[in-house]
């Protein structure tokens, strides 16, 4: 009677999902997060959910854990005091921050630049140089100065240490030596070296990324240790897997070494889950839409795999860490609508947050939000209580939206519709960034919608982009926790290569990839993955010589020695041409080689059911007036828990669920598929 469990720790709620391996049943639970001591909320959620699923903590086999602890630490600047040891002459690397100021012209007048996460007070430069590009030592490391700096910083009260020396990506010897000295002088201090965290050129980004790692480390170490202890106390023998920003998994131990990899741990789960669900349905290419209270995350999945990026951004800081390529826009249910001086209507990025929340929450919010607009239009029917907990104040919603209507001289319904149109457009803009701007045609993609508010807006978005089918998975409000269950143990191993096709051949690249594969294999073994379950992806990051792009070109390693680099070049040129409309008569440069090592885990099995009758009337609970495109339609309301595979619903229709509401637009058809997804397509008239 084994169970697996996914837990997603958000800023407000902790979502838990339990999978029963015998019955293939999923149990969902939501508890309040405990930001002041995050492990407590997790334990409570795990205990509550296991009880609800008729099992116990001791019966859990696999645990999958994603968390916004690191994200929030970065946004709220509540991490550790970090000491930085860097090359002398370059102590101001974080302070000068590559000189960047925001647009447009005069952007500097309004720029708010946060202090570096390692203060100049806690930064020490040491002598010792490595030459470039050959990586030779040209001046020895001043070990006495290092020793003094370490003692000094420890005495000053730093809680962790970063070592980031110029050109260390070419030769890590000096950084490694500094780490040894730290171990001798201050054995208690966690220390990271930049050549391990980001073995790539670019001193600012490498230093920043490593400092972020150390900024998060003390808290993450404490948090994960407490969690492990509490789980052990509760009798757990389950394997703990922590979800990385790229959607892969690593052990708790690995997570305490590289917490920077958790920066986007939360949002990655939803994307991975959506990719799994869509692939299972035979729709391997989808866009994902995760709309919550304050923001929306969108991404692109091609061939069942989420696109990933090496540039991760949290707030002002953009650093080098692999993550699912999630584009975030400040558009959510709580986004506030305002009429600007010029008369234009803006929705978001400012949000009413959880407190006071939208006007309809009746907690004193007066400004109109997206949720209020949905209430005004009847998209959230009387029968629904938000989050199953709250009675809606419809009058307050109407009054709030009326302020926009007054300023624009429209009806309240028109104003509400305009708010929805604008917020949808903001999300549309975000979806374009991940699709059309990268050369993908959204009409060739499906759309998977989740998050509390996603299923309410997704049909309108699918329509404007022509992205069908629209898939609303079961439990859209806990999609990240579900996604964790579908993740694999994963880590990537990369090396700066910077070779052109004139200088190397397929054999050279093959050898280098095999070396990286060996490293990846060792790591998987250390994570406890048996060799039979190891799998590897091979990637060359390519560009024309001297360009700045890095296009990830997948490599079929078995053919590499025979075909040489020609296939890599052809693939690169085709992608470059598709995305930018031109190619160049310039040599191909391989900037980086990467091997992604994966260990397959089976956290969840998606149950397939027989399709039944098309008639959904057993699930119909009400009929309401709902406003669509200038008219009010009599619209049936369905209870999702009563809908069965095979049921067909003609739009307009509203489907209510525990944690979200699905809007089916007029002239659309929704069917319940064999995996309990709601699948929405255009009706025959369109």
């Amino acid at each position: 009677m084994t169970h697996n469990l996914g837990v997603d720790v958000g800023g407000t709620f902790t979502d838990v999902i339990v999978f029963d391996e015998a019955t293939h049943e999923l149990t969902i639970d939501k508890v309040l997060s405990t930001p002041e001591n995050p492990s407590r909320g997790v334990i409570r959620g795990i205990e509550e959910a296991t009880t609800k699923a008729d099992t116990s903590v001791a019966d859990l086999e696999l645990l999958f854990h994603g968390t916004t602890v690191v994200t929030n630490m970065l946004l709220e600047e509540t991490g550790a005091r970090v000491g930085l040891i860097t090359s002398s002459g370059h102590e101001d690397v974080l302070h000068l921050a590559r000189a960047w100021t925001p647009g447009p012209l005069y952007g500097w007048m309004d720029m708010e630049k946060p202090e570096p996460l390692a203060d100049l007070v806690d930064t020490r430069g040491v002598d010792g140089t490595i030459s470039s590009p050959d990586g030779e030592e040209t001046a020895p490391l001043d070990e006495d100065a290092v020793r003094e700096a370490v003692r000094d910083l420890e005495a000053a009260g730093v809680e962790s240490l970063t070592v980031a020396l110029l050109n260390a990506y070419l030769n890590p010897a000096h950084e490694e030596r500094v780490r040894e000295i730290v171990a001798e002088e201050a054995p208690e201090l966690p220390v990271s070296i930049s050549s391990e965290i980001v073995p790539e050129y670019g001193e600012y980004e490498r230093t920043l990324t490593t400092v972020i790692n150390d900024y998060a480390r003390p808290t993450v170490i404490e948090y994960l240790e407490e969690l492990d202890d509490s789980l052990a106390d509760a009798g757990s023998t389950a394997t703990m897997n922590v979800v990385r920003s790229d959607g892969g998994l690593m052990s708790s131990g690995a997570a305490t070494e590289r917490p920077v990899e958790l920066a986007l741990s939360g949002p990655s789960g939803g994307v991975v889950g959506a990719a799994t669900i869509a692939s299972k349905k035979g729709v391997p290419d989808v866009l994902t839409l995760d709309m919550g209270g304050t923001s929306t995350d969108v991404s692109l999945v091609e061939g069942g795999s989420p696109e990933t990026t090496r540039q991760t951004k949290v707030g002002y800081r953009e650093f080098k860490s692999r993550s699912v390529d999630v584009n975030t826009v400040g558009a959510g249910g709580g986004s506030i609508a305002r009429v600007q001086l010029s008369g234009s209507l803006q929705v978001g990025p400012e949000s009413s947050g959880a407190d006071p929340g939208p006007a309809c929450y009746g907690q004193g919010g007066e400004e109109p939000t997206v949720t209020d607009a949905n209430v005004v239009l009847g998209r959230i029917p009387e029968s629904v209580r938000l989050g199953g907990r709250m009675e809606l104040d419809r009058e307050a919603a109407r009054d709030a939206v009326a302020t926009v209507a007054d300023e624009r001289g429209s009806t309240v319904e028109e104003a509400a519709q305009a708010i929805l149109d604008i917020v949808n457009e903001n999300m549309h803009g975000a979806l374009r960034v991940v699709s059309v701007e990268r050369g993908y045609d959204p009409r060739e993609f499906g759309l998977v919608a989740f998050g509390g508010a996603g299923p309410m807006h997704a049909n309108a978005l699918a329509d404007v982009m022509g992205a069908y089918p629209l898939i609303v998975p079961p439990g859209p409000g806990v999609m990240s926790a579900f996604g964790f269950l579908t993740s694999d143990v994963q880590n990537e191993f990369s090396e700066t290569y910077l070779e052109t096709e004139d200088d190397v051949d397929g054999e050279d690249v093959y050898e280098k990839l095999r070396e990286l594969e060996a490293e990846a294999g060792e790591w998987l073994a250390s994570e406890g993955v048996p060799e039979d379950d190891h799998a590897f992806d091979y990637v060359a990051e390519c560009r024309y010589f001297r360009q700045d792009i890095r296009m990830s070109i997948p490599i079929a390693i078995d053919e590499l020695r025979e075909t040489g680099l020609a296939e890599i070049r052809d693939d690169f040129e085709a992608r470059h041409d598709r995305q930018f409309g031109f190619s160049l008569d310039a040599p191909l440069e391989i900037a980086n080689l990467r091997v992604i090592g994966k260990g397959m885990l089976q956290g969840v099995t998606i149950e397939e059911r027989e399709l039944g009758d098309a008639d959904p009337s057993d699930a119909e609970i009400d009929v309401d007036d709902v406003y669509f495109d200038g008219d009010t339609d009599e619209t049936p309301i369905y209870d999702r828990t009563e809908l069965r595979p095979g049921n067909e619903l003609d739009g307009p229709a509203i489907v209510t669920d525990d944690d979200s509401t699905v809007v089916v637009q007029p002239d659309h058809v929704a069917t319940i598929d064999r995996y309990a997804n709601i699948e929405i397509t255009r009706g025959e008239d369109q």
Partner: protein
């Protein structure tokens, strides 16, 4: 001169507000998409690492609806061998001749591409993108000579010609151009990248026309222009007082050939809805390359953007407000030089023009002040032949002190121009024969003030191959001013340390100075001015900055009157005394602190002497 009649886009617009908002935000995203396309596909570090390129989307009449630089499409077409009627779907016009586009690009390395956008056979707009090429030929690598007196020495110029004709790429034309540059592959790739940027805009405009209909799109462009114009009228009425005339004067050091200082003089006043900006009183054009061909439309854009960013940052800026500004640019002055004046190093004048605009507005607008900045975009070219016999050419832009701002300190070593970034030292060391020994903040170089001006930076290069350096900077003789009691900043400095132990101070603008392996260049940029009385600055912040090494202990005491205790904290009592002492010693602070400038004649002689001595040494 702008047309004083009300523009034709003003009036009622038959387009619903939501559609209008959607079209506006799509165009806004498109402008950023154009940048991203160019940045990622170009191969020059100055574009890919420093983001030196500028997109715009215009309506069918050539008025910029979205972008950041204003449009000169009319002028470009006037100076081309073809008429508006000769434009066809798929054409792309290219030019890098400042005199053929009224200064829309202001020196020859900037290549501008212009694409008419057609929908169902009708012209519905234009997209345009320009970027700084690494080299366009001429007498020095990088094509920005310091010692030139005509534009003919600044490289190959394309008049407005069609690079693509109905979608067909004219490879012979491009090859002819590239052939005249030192880095032909760079030129070809970068120009193609710019064309890809304009294509991205065309695709988006087509999608908008598909989605909303051509008429709606065209109407929406009018409405967006109208909306911005109306917003600007409100801003002008609220913030620009009517009646009084305000003037400000400041100087660029020199033209790199011993002539200076070069005066800029601006007068601003308002009558009704119209704001008058008059550059009469500005010095005549100079022999050297610092002349700045200021495009009138562009200056209107700068002025509008200043008001928008200061008071209503959400307002879209575009050509809609052009009739509200009336600009006078005296012919033959440094801001309107006559052909064939050399233009290569127009950055000091461009930057100073912003300083003067800021200062005049600071006088004019109650309770709003900004100080003076580091004064140009300092740039350095290092070219030569490496040990393996390969030619190399490095171009880098450097940064200095951002002025103190309303309600905040200036930033240390940041860019006044948006979105620029430094080239990583590790990139420079990997691709060019040099090492970067230091890249640091220059303590105490930002002007003291309640809000401190940003500090300049010092970058130390050790060259590893024989070659020559060319650079331009400014603010070596004049100081970035402080305002409202804030102090002036420190000047820039350049020093060459030879392997034989000799040391040479260099002027701020030099061309092809030979360097050998082992020579070091110490390149220090100016700070930004301070704002408000330094004796009002929070002592705890001063103490923190001493601890961080950004302000010295002596400056804390002498400039800020802050005395530190042994533990580095503020000695409250001693600080109160010290501040009292400084207050009693000083004169009533002037509105602007220009620093210890000699009089004009002395300054002129000093600048000429510096150049004479430099030339003598390098004969």
């Amino acid at each position: 001169m702008s047309d004083t009649a009300t523009p034709d886009f003003v009036g009622d617009h038959d387009v619903d507000q939501t559609t209008l908002d959607i079209i506006e935000s799509t165009l806004s995203n498109t402008r950023h998409e154009m940048d991203r396309v160019v940045e990622t596909t170009a191969i020059s570090p100055v574009i890919r690492e420093q983001s030196d390129q500028f997109p715009l989307i215009a309506d069918a009449q050539g008025r910029m609806v979205m972008g950041q630089f204003g449009s000169a499409i009319d002028t470009i077409l006037e100076n081309s061998p073809f008429d508006r009627d000769d434009l066809n779907d798929g054409d792309v016009i290219a030019t890098n001749d400042p005199y053929a586009c009224a200064g829309a690009v202001s020196h020859t390395p900037d290549m501008l591409l212009l694409r008419p956008i057609f929908y169902e056979g009708d012209l519905v707009g234009f997209s345009s993108q320009w970027g700084n090429l690494m080299d366009v030929g001429g007498k020095t690598p990088g094509s920005m000579p310091v010692q030139a007196t005509t534009i003919f020495e600044e490289g190959m110029r394309l008049p407005p010609v069609k690079l693509y004709k109905e979608g067909e790429f004219d490879s012979e034309l491009l090859e002819t151009f590239a052939h005249n540059t030192r880095l032909p592959e760079h030129a070809e790739a970068d120009i193609k990248a710019l064309a890809a940027g304009t294509k991205a805009a065309e695709t988006r405009v087509h999608e908008l026309c598909d989605r909303f209909g051509k008429e709606t799109y065209v109407e929406a462009c009018d409405a967006i222009l109208d909306r911005t114009r109306a917003g600007m009228i409100d801003l002008i009425h609220e913030f620009v007082p009517e009646g009084e005339r305000y003037t400000f004067e400041d100087y660029v050091d020199d033209d790199g050939m011993g002539n200076g200082p070069i005066k800029l003089h601006l007068e601003i006043y308002r009558e009704g809805d119209t704001v008058y900006l008059d550059w009469t009183g500005t010095d005549e054009q100079v022999p050297g390359t610092v002349n700045f061909l200021l495009n009138e439309q562009m200056f209107k854009m700068f002025t509008g953007v200043f008001l928008i960013m200061a008071f209503d940052p959400l307002l879209t800026f575009n050509d809609g407000y052009y009739d509200l500004f009336e600009v006078t640019l005296p012919q033959g002055s440094v801001v309107q030089p006559e052909f064939p004046a050399a233009l290569g190093n127009r950055l000091p004048l461009m930057a100073r023009q912003f300083d003067v605009l800021q200062a005049t507005f600071s006088k004019l607008i109650d309770g709003f002040s900004v100080a003076g900045s580091y004064g140009t975009s300092p740039n350095l070219v290092y070219a030569g032949t490496d040990s393996e016999g390969n030619d190399f050419q490095m171009l880098e832009i450097l940064y200095g002190g951002i002025p103190a701002r309303p309600g905040g300190d200036g930033l240390d070593g940041h860019s006044w121009w948006p979105l620029f970034r430094t080239v990583p030292a590790e990139y420079q060391e990997a691709y060019y024969p040099l090492t970067i020994d230091e890249y640091s903040t220059r303590a105490d170089t930002g002007g003291a003030g309640e809000f401190r001006g940003g500090h300049g930076i010092t970058k130390v290069y050790t060259f590893e191959a024989e070659g020559a350096i060319t650079f331009q900077d400014d603010r070596a003789h004049t100081y970035p001013w402080g305002v409202d009691g804030g102090k002036h900043a420190q000047t820039s400095e350049k020093k060459l340390l030879r392997t034989d132990g000799t040391e040479e101070e260099l002027p701020s603008k030099v061309e092809n100075v030979p360097v050998s392996a082992g020579d070091k260049l110490v390149f220090s940029t100016a700070g930004g001015g301070g704002l408000g009385d330094p004796l009002e600055r929070d002592p705890a912040v001063v103490a923190k900055e001493v601890e961080r090494g950004l302000v010295t202990e002596s400056a804390a005491s002498d400039e800020y009157g802050v005395v530190l205790a042994d533990d580095g904290g503020v000695d409250e009592a001693a600080t109160a005394d010290r501040r009292e002492e400084l207050r009693s010693e000083r004169d009533e602070p002037a509105a602007f602190d220009y620093g210890p400038l000699p009089d004009d004649a002395d300054l002129e002689e000093r600048i000429a002497a510096e150049r004479r001595e430099f030339e003598d040494r390098h004969d």
